[in-house]
């Protein structure tokens, strides 16, 4: 196994609210190698975006607070860097693209104006060189007429074009890690495929790691090498994509996969009963147990540890500890 590019260990993040302190991330650990695409899936509000923002140290503090853990990136602990050093990591080494390509570009400046800003900030290019560089970047995300595009304003572009501009912009300084926070949710399905394809291509060409946050299992299957499933601020299962879909181990993962709308289930959409728990007072023991159809008596008392059950497959569930599971189907 090659060296880890990003290694998050035991990261806990809390947010102070009027209701009390919400434990939004609870001892989250995950790692990424160069060139790897890791999917991070989970329901809305399970802490996916908070994790990505914590990596860049961009959660608002207060109310947020990173309690414990380390975020090792290229052997440096990002949580120990000075604000200035952190600024040079952002954009240069780690980039991020967002869900809303519509508003991630400043409406009052041209595309070129905004793209040059990055190239000049981090790469120290002159005006002409920056222009050249940006046009080349736009061409790489398959946007035709890059030169003309640089002179346009964001409102003159379609959603897909804007997201491609964002990708070109974020990749323009050659980051080793791209955090993609639901990059395709706001786009229609055909454009979605193109964007994912571009992300995949760029990751392969540049040996760049991608943390792809999504709640769409279909996107994961299409794009990722490995998957981490999060539930209520806890990583409950990590596995390779093939493994996860063939042998989902955690009841929550099984539920997620069963809930993918498919052709044979067109009549009735399956859901997981119940809702995401309140993170101010999370359920004791396994955070999933109130909704779990397979719970046993230890589930509400002991918090399961993430334990390895196979090659690159780890799961946090009492049921999986030790004994191999039958291929379980939902009733």
């Amino acid at each position: 196994m090659s060296k880890q590019l990003l290694d998050v260990q035991g990261l806990s993040v809390t947010f102070t609210t009027h209701q009390g302190t919400a434990r939004v991330l609870e001892k989250v650990s995950l790692s990424l190698q160069a060139g790897e695409i890791l999917g991070l899936v989970g329901e809305t509000g399970c802490g996916k975006s908070v994790l990505a923002r914590s990596i860049l140290r961009l959660i608002p503090q207060p109310p947020g607070r990173i309690h414990e853990g380390r975020i090792m990136f290229q052997e440096k602990n990002l949580l120990k860097l000075s604000a200035r050093a952190m600024r040079s990591v952002r954009g240069r080494c780690i980039s991020m693209i967002f869900q809303e390509p519509l508003s991630s570009l400043n409406p009052v400046f041209t595309i070129g104006n905004q793209m040059r800003e990055m190239a000049r900030l981090h790469l120290g290019l002159g005006r002409e060189a920056a222009n050249e560089h940006c046009a080349a970047m736009l061409a790489r995300v398959r946007l035709p007429d890059a030169r003309g595009l640089l002179r346009k304003y964001p409102h003159e572009l379609s959603g897909g074009q804007r997201q491609r501009v964002m990708i070109a912009m974020e990749l323009s300084c050659g980051p080793q890690l791209l955090l993609a926070d639901e990059p395709t949710t706001a786009l229609d399905v055909t454009v979605q495929g193109q964007i994912l394809q571009i992300i995949k291509e760029q990751a392969a060409q540049r040996d760049m790691a991608v943390l792809l946050i999504t709640h769409d299992m279909g996107v994961v299957a299409q794009t990722c090498d490995r998957v981490a499933v999060m539930y209520a601020g806890v990583v409950v299962e990590t596995a390779t994509v093939a493994d996860l879909f063939a042998r989902p181990e955690h009841p929550y993962t099984q539920g997620l996969i069963a809930a993918i709308p498919g052709r044979e289930r067109i009549q009735q959409l399956l859901t997981i009963p119940g809702t995401v728990p309140d993170l101010v007072t999370p359920p004791p023991g396994c955070r999933y147990h109130p909704r779990c159809v397979l719970r046993v008596k230890n589930c509400n008392r002991i918090e399961p540890e993430l334990s390895t059950i196979g090659a690159q497959h780890a799961v946090a569930c009492h049921l999986s500890a030790g004994k191999p599971q039958e291929n379980w189907r939902r009733p």
Partner: protein, 275 residues
Amino acid sequence: MLTLRILSRNPSAAAGGGILAVMVCMALLAGVLAPYEPVEINLSERLQGPGADHWFGTDEMGRDIFSRIMYGARISLRIGFFVVAIAGGLGALIGATAGYLGGWVDNLMMRVMDVIISFPSLVLAMALAAAMGPSLNNAILAVAFVMIPKFARMVRGEALAVREMPFVLASRVAGAGHAWIILRHILPNCLNSVIVLATLTLGDAILIAASLSFIGLGAQPPMPEWGAMISVGRKFLMDQWWYATFPGLFILFTVVGFNILGDALRDVLDPRIRR
């Protein structure tokens, strides 16, 4: 450019713009068009009524009031411009910083603004101008100072909204610092409102500056400042009505011109009232 086209179709904007265009022409072309020198004393023709030789009459030194008003337009417009530039610039910067950073910076800056705003603006400007000594430049500074909170408060409100926009976060992800974000992202997105408020404030600024000159704290004689002219002309109001009336009318036109242009601009530029 679209803005200009919409504006030209709006009758009140056209009227306001027209008045101001006349004022600006008067100010620029005073040297060419004015029939007399503004400070040329001619004691044989003192206090003449309006007529063919002197359209608006003459003052107690025999100076032509029409010429003095034309030169006075230069002074008034300059006052307005500098006041708005200083107050708008500083106010916008303070507001954007306070709104974007929030927390104690916001609190501190806005409480200072509240202190300034809690004085009646004319009284505060008077006190400041008197403390700094009567001169036109000091009057400009004094008026600019009392105008700062207006801009700061408005821009702060806008900045609170802009800072939540995803492109601000995107810029931080790209490694931008706070100063960069304030100058590049927050301020440009507040510019529309600043332009509207600046136009509306220009009228006020000219009025307050004229008031300061009226009580002797602004422009000093023999400067042909409108407020100062009214101040002297007041003594002759009973018998020589034209002396104070014409400068007063020009102050009125200018202020009204800026106000209706500002209102029309707001209708066009302000997204909150856009239909």
